[in-house]
């Protein structure tokens, strides 16, 4: 119950304040002032597609940024921010920095506001906001239902149909009749209907397993998934089977509780074949979101599926996330994977030298090529001379390593060979100065101990995780939780990452409060990820609006000299936490 209990306590404590909100209905004014009525002329027929562009990108029908004024006199342009900046893609709004942004879905706008405490329950009780925020939310703000006309008045002048002035932070927009009609058409299209994957009883999720993942890893992750879902469902069952027990608010939300049903989607064949399989799974049983998962190979086909079906893909465990920049992706990742590792290693190897001379060998696989491309690009921007060679087999690569390297080589970097033992004798034979570095990805670390002592001493690994010996407070909770359920911690990082993904969904649902909207779920996770829920797999896990990678950096580590059996606990960072700079793919 750890955090669930915590929120509920706070909520229960402050419930009394909220219950009286409904008494405060005085002060609403219902007539529309004559002075602004003319501002609401809507002549044109609205185009919801153009309206969506205006809402999201701040662009008018003619492609120019929309203009307006915020805080009275700040001239703003759609190029700086648009409706979706604050009200978000979902339309459910947000709250940040003490500013409450109300939902503006058509279903809300075209109904008169009601004294419904539950509608703002999250803002009232589940968020750490300043006092003015509290007092503002407790002001009665009633208005009649908007009409097309009064909605346009509000957008242009900031006066709602109740005659009240909207918050100063809400810009007053210069809208042509056409833009106004387009925007209204889009707002009307924003519905409160449940998204797919939810029915009256259950909310469905899926966890993806790709072929070629180790069975022990899968078993370790399955144990966590199963225990967590069982735990949630037991809790929900308890509440739902005894609706009368709830002294105050919990019974108000029973209708939002749904049993979790977790489906396993096992993929087979090469990545090119995954599209069809995912579509077939989805056609048979749509899910509300994907939770975690073990991905060997590129995540891109799965990410494409998530974007296509608008299904949030919440923290899959993958080294090859879909890093292509896009307007909006439905996948949330722990980090940028191999690409991040390559950049961190390149950053490390080019720090303190003017023109590092680096030889780079890579296996022509997804992982190998991704690492090599990122390393080459990043190394170049840092003034390094990188010579890259790709190979179709480990044997060919080993042969090349054997005859490596030209005199003066500062580093030999290898991508795509997760078991460096395959290169053991080749590395020994290579003519590589003692001072030179052998750069490898983190995946190579588990097998590296078999390298000869000399080469082991030269090996440096990218390490996008927390360093050993750092305790995060939440690790105690989660270890205890697992211990009490007799879950063997055989793969702590994978199991903790899975637990984190589950927690994000749990918190997301807790904040959705029955608004089963997938975009809103992503927005809530963006908002909540930083809330001390990191179990310690990474130094910090945090998102923000539009951010898709929760951890941004990596260490470079070496195995401590005494290691005979490599383990994650026998590494030592030899760099700061490196956050690679200025790469075009680092975004979104």
């Amino acid at each position: 119950m750890i955090h669930r209990g915590c929120n509920r306590w706070r909520a229960a404590a402050s419930f009394g304040i909220g219950i009286f909100l409904s008494l405060l209905s005085a002060g609403a004014r219902s007539e529309t002032p004559d002075a602004v009525r003319s501002a609401g002329a809507v002549a044109a027929v609205g185009d919801p597609v153009a309206g969506e562009r205006l809402y999201r990108a701040g662009l008018r029908a003619d492609g120019q940024p929309i203009r307006g004024r915020a805080q009275g006199d700040i001239e703003i342009s759609g190029a700086q921010f648009s409706c979706s900046s604050c009200h978000r893609r979902s339309g459910y709004g947000s709250s940040e920095g003490g500013v409450y942004v109300p939902p503006i879905l058509g279903d809300f706008l075209y109904a008169s506001s009601k004294a419904d405490r539950n509608r703002i329950f999250k803002e009232l009780y589940l968020e750490a906001q300043p006092k003015e925020f509290w007092s503002k939310l407790r002001e009665p703000r009633f208005r009649p239902a908007y009409t097309d006309e009064t909605l346009v008045v509000a957008l242009r002048t900031g006066i709602d149909p109740g005659g009240r002035t909207l918050d100063a932070t809400m810009p007053r927009f210069d809208l042509t009749d056409q833009d106004a009609a387009d925007l209204v058409a889009h707002l009307k299209s924003l519905k409160t209907d449940d998204h797919p994957g939810v029915d009256a009883e259950a909310v469905h999720f899926a966890t993806v397993f790709t072929p070629d993942i180790a069975m022990e890893e899968r078993a370790a992750v399955e144990a966590v998934l199963e225990a967590f879902v069982g735990w949630i469902n037991l809790d929900i069952l308890g509440d739902r089977s005894n609706p009368a027990f709830s002294p105050l608010y919990r019974s108000d939300f029973l209708h939002t509780y749904r049993r979790w049903v977790l489906h396993r989607w096992e993929l087979s064949g090469p990545p090119e074949a995954w599209h069809e399989q995912l579509d077939a799974f989805y056609a048979e049983r749509p899910v509300f979101a994907m939770i975690g998962g073990l991905i060997e190979g590129p995540h891109a086909p799965i990410a494409a599926f998530c974007n296509r079906t608008r299904t949030p893909c919440v923290f899959p465990i993958t080294n090859l996330p879909d890093n292509r920049t896009g307007d909006y992706g439905y996948s949330l990742y722990f980090d940028r994977g191999v690409e991040l590792e390559a950049e961190a290693l390149a950053h490390f190897l080019t720090t303190g030298t003017d023109a590092a001379q680096i030889e780079q060998f890579y296996l022509e696989t997804f992982s190998g090529s991704t690492g090599a491309v990122a390393f080459q690009r990043y190394g170049k921007t840092r003034g390094a001379r990188v010579v890259s060679k790709g190979f179709s087999s480990v044997d060919a690569l080993a042969a090349a390593v054997r005859s490596c390297c030209t005199k003066g080589t500062d580093a030999l970097v290898v991508w795509g060979v997760d078991d460096p033992l395959a290169l053991g004798s080749a590395l020994d034979a290579a003519s590589l100065a003692r001072s030179a570095v052998i750069g490898l990805p983190s995946a190579a670390l588990t097998h590296a101990a078999g390298l000869s002592g000399r080469r082991l001493g030269q090996a440096r690994f990218a390490w996008p995780y927390e360093k050993p010996g750092v305790l995060h407070p939440r690790e105690f909770d989660v270890r205890a939780w697992m211990g009490s359920r007799r879950i063997r911690l055989s793969h702590p990082r994978l199991q903790f990452q899975t637990y984190f993904a589950l927690t994000m969904i749990e918190h997301g649902l807790e904040h959705l409060l029955g608004d089963f909207n997938r975009d809103y779920l992503i927005e809530l996770i963006e908002h909540e990820a930083e809330k001390n829920l990191n179990i310690g797999t990474h130094p910090s896990l945090a998102l923000g609006p539009g951010q898709r990678f929760a951890s941004k950096g990596a260490y470079v580590v070496r195995l401590t000299a005494s290691s005979t059996e490599a383990s994650e606990n026998q590494i030592e960072p030899i760099s700061d936490w490196i956050i690679p700079l200025g790469t075009s793919t680092a975004g979104h």
Binding site: G18, Q71, I76, V101, A128, E132, A168, E528, A542, L581
Partner: protein
């Protein structure tokens, strides 16, 4: 375990009810006082413009000033905005801060000594933002952006500093893009750096946010005319004219 929890819940709920009754009574009284216009009086607005005292509001209890003795209370500002129409949405106070000695990185990737930057012999304006922030930072950025001309008219030589509280995401490249959106001039520096170093600056300005979650940050702006004067600390969103006005007030 569940049974015991329920009893405790009941107790807490009762306390909640009591509290609720008290608060509601207070709110109703406040509502009665404010029978005039559509904009009910907020505690913030009552404090706006009053020097010194406004600072209390950021603490839970008025008078909870322990540990903040270094915030000067010697303000002499006279914003007696008469009409409630001009009531401001922000509060301000005067305070002195000691800057940590550390280097951050600007939007061009250059190291910047923060203490030295903020000790420059020219008026300074400081704000805390992050580029992916959806609601208040675009407004804060736009305020600085649009106020550049007005501020230059008051004092041609000045310094603007925007410090990212999401430094791991806000690389110099992202800060540069954000700066371009605001038409930032040469005098405007955007800073990022190591998270722990940025947090030292956040603490130095006493703007820590709740739960270590940047999403709960609040809009703060700081103005100082010269290094021998205190900072004007502004909490809340200001308009362009208001910022320029506060800037010139700081110089008086």
């Amino acid at each position: 375990m569940n049974r015991r929890l329920n009893t405790r819940r009941l107790l807490v709920a009762l306390v909640g009810l009591l509290l609720g009754a008290m608060t509601t009574a207070g709110t109703l009284r406040a509502a009665e006082r404010d029978t005039g216009g559509p904009g009910p009086a907020l505690p913030v607005q009552e404090h706006a413009g009053h020097s010194g005292g406004g600072h209390q509001l950021e603490h839970d209890q008025p008078g909870d000033h322990g540990g903040h003795a270094d915030h000067g209370e010697h303000g002499e500002h006279e914003h007696d905005h008469d009409a409630p129409k001009s009531a401001k949405n922000y509060e301000k106070s005067l305070a002195s801060y000691r800057m940590p000695n550390l280097a951050l990185t600007d939007q061009f990737g250059r190291d910047v000594d923060v203490a030295a930057l903020l000790a420059e012999d020219r008026p300074a304006l400081v704000q805390f933002i992050f580029t992916s922030c959806s609601t208040i930072c675009p407004v804060m950025g736009a305020v600085f952006g649009k106020a550049q001309g007005g501020i230059a008219a008051v004092s041609p030589d000045f310094r603007m500093v925007s410090i990212s509280i999401d430094p791991e995401y806000d690389t110099p490249e992202r800060l540069l893009a954000f700066a371009a959106k605001q038409n930032a001039g040469r005098q405007w520096i955007f800073l990022t750096g190591r998270k722990d170093e940025v947090m030292k600056v956040v603490r130095a300005f006493d703007v820590l946010y709740e739960g270590d979650n940047k999403m709960y940050h609040q809009p703060y702006t700081f103005i100082r005319w010269s290094s021998d004067r205190p900072w004007t600390r502004i909490r809340g969103l200001v308009g362009v004219e208001e910022l320029v006005e506060e800037f010139s007030a700081a110089g008086r």
